[in-house]
Symmetry: C2
Subunit: 261 residues, 2 copies
């Protein structure tokens, strides 16, 4: 966990790993819609996603993965596996990873019981599973479908359904201590990567504080390159972006700011 003394330390790199739990993404049945949202949201508050993993609903895999990444990164965010069915094993696996017990959380039970009273649904044993929370964890509220996520240590356990995950993620800002916020500038042009590659490499060498990425794109019959500059110093980013534009013009192409139209 980041030290308290590092709150608002603009130059500190605060890192995160995202763990997407679920057979459905691994099998190709479902295309993940969560990583991008989490990455963008975290970056806005100064947390950089440095790795993501997609793992199956297998207890030992979840335990081993969580225990590996929670020591390596400042924060870990998981999605998936906290519903009422037999294949929802994330909460039990996280408890096992932390070596703590798990039981019905009184507040989670009360919230779910009221929800099913109001909606006329039965508060089945299966639905009570959604109130099973590892000991010592704090809840992450779910205003949409009520079944909560939870935080234990530096691990934040969220739902897999994107709209539920998003409202959970948005609610976590106060619990996270961000560091440097990564800004980016994009310059695109209808020019081949290979044409600008050497000059771009020289530009990268000239400005090591800025990460320069080059991404080819194909749009029907046209193709080109998007050059993305990332860094924490906005003035420097603007300068490097201007250099990239000049570089592209030097090859007779017309750069546009942002992604290709």
């Amino acid at each position: 966990m980041p030290e308290k003394s590092n709150i608002n330390a603009a130059n500190k790199l605060v890192t995160a790993c995202v763990v997407l739990i679920g057979d459905e993404v691994l099998s190709g049945r479902t295309r993940d819609a969560n990583l991008g949202y989490i990455a963008k949201h975290l970056n806005q508050i100064g947390v950089q996603v440095r790795e993501a993993r997609v793992i199956p609903d297998i207890e030992q895999v979840i335990v081993d993965t969580i225990n590996e990444v929670r020591t390596r990164y400042d924060y870990v965010f998981t999605t998936g596996g906290i519903g009422p069915t037999h294949d929802d094993i994330t909460a039990d696996s996280i408890a096992k990873a932390f070596g703590v017990g798990i039981g019905y959380h009184p507040q989670a039970m009360a919230t779910l019981e009221m929800h099913y009273q109001e909606t006329g649904g039965e508060f089945t044993e299966a639905r009570k599973r959604m109130a099973r929370i590892p000991e010592g964890a704090s809840l992450i509220a779910n205003p949409l479908s009520k079944a909560p996520g939870f935080q234990i240590g530096n691990v934040f356990v969220m739902a897999g359904v994107p709209m539920v995950m998003q409202v959970m993620m948005d609610s976590l800002t106060d619990r996270l201590e961000g560091g440097a916020t990564m800004q980016s500038r994009t310059v695109s042009a209808q020019i081949g990567e290979g044409t600008i590659a050497e000059r771009l490499g020289a530009l990268q060498a000239q400005f090591p504080e800025v990460g320069i990425g080059s991404y080819p794109y194909y749009r029907g019959k046209t193709f080109g390159t998007s050059v993305v500059m990332r860094g924490t110093d906005v003035a420097l980013l603007e300068r490097v972006a201007a250099e990239a534009e000049a570089l592209i013009r030097g090859f007779g192409a017309e750069p546009v700011s942002g992604d290709p139209a």
Copy 2:
């Protein structure tokens, strides 16, 4: 690597890990479009993707990740980082992971040289980078943009651009020894997961050879559950799917075969 003696062994589980290399997916700039294609394609030839990782363009991270997963899974498939620019460091990193040298591959050089002669582009030093292949690797042809991928040991290095990756992936079938092919049946209904959860758990306990997954869905104002059955025995899958349909009808809902309409 799977033993030769296991070719066509219908019950052998052959596993793979997919490693998506690139800052653009981690930052949320680009939504991955490769994992799903790779997972579905591999499953068709009897290879199960058991894990996926998204990692940044950082040499030591690539080296460590590849060396971890290549011993843990039968096959490893990477995408991204084999273009001409300074941030394309996958080939060098893979060479380092295997402890081998890297140099210009004669066939790759010839193919690229001819390509740029034909298209009138200059075969720049940067573009020659795309012919740098680790020693002992075999090429993976790229009929679209010519810059090849490569195979070294059980690691297959492919492009990040989806249409190039797909043609590379499709060409690998003869090099892969598949095992059991996972089949699936899906049954969907407008019913809450929590309603069917207990009966579904009992069904899973009754048929341990079939993996039963439960996935809630939300479509505007309607919601429901898709139950996905996976296994290698088609007759058994049909039987469990029929049981799942009966189970859903028992709660007064009407199941449909496949995803919700």
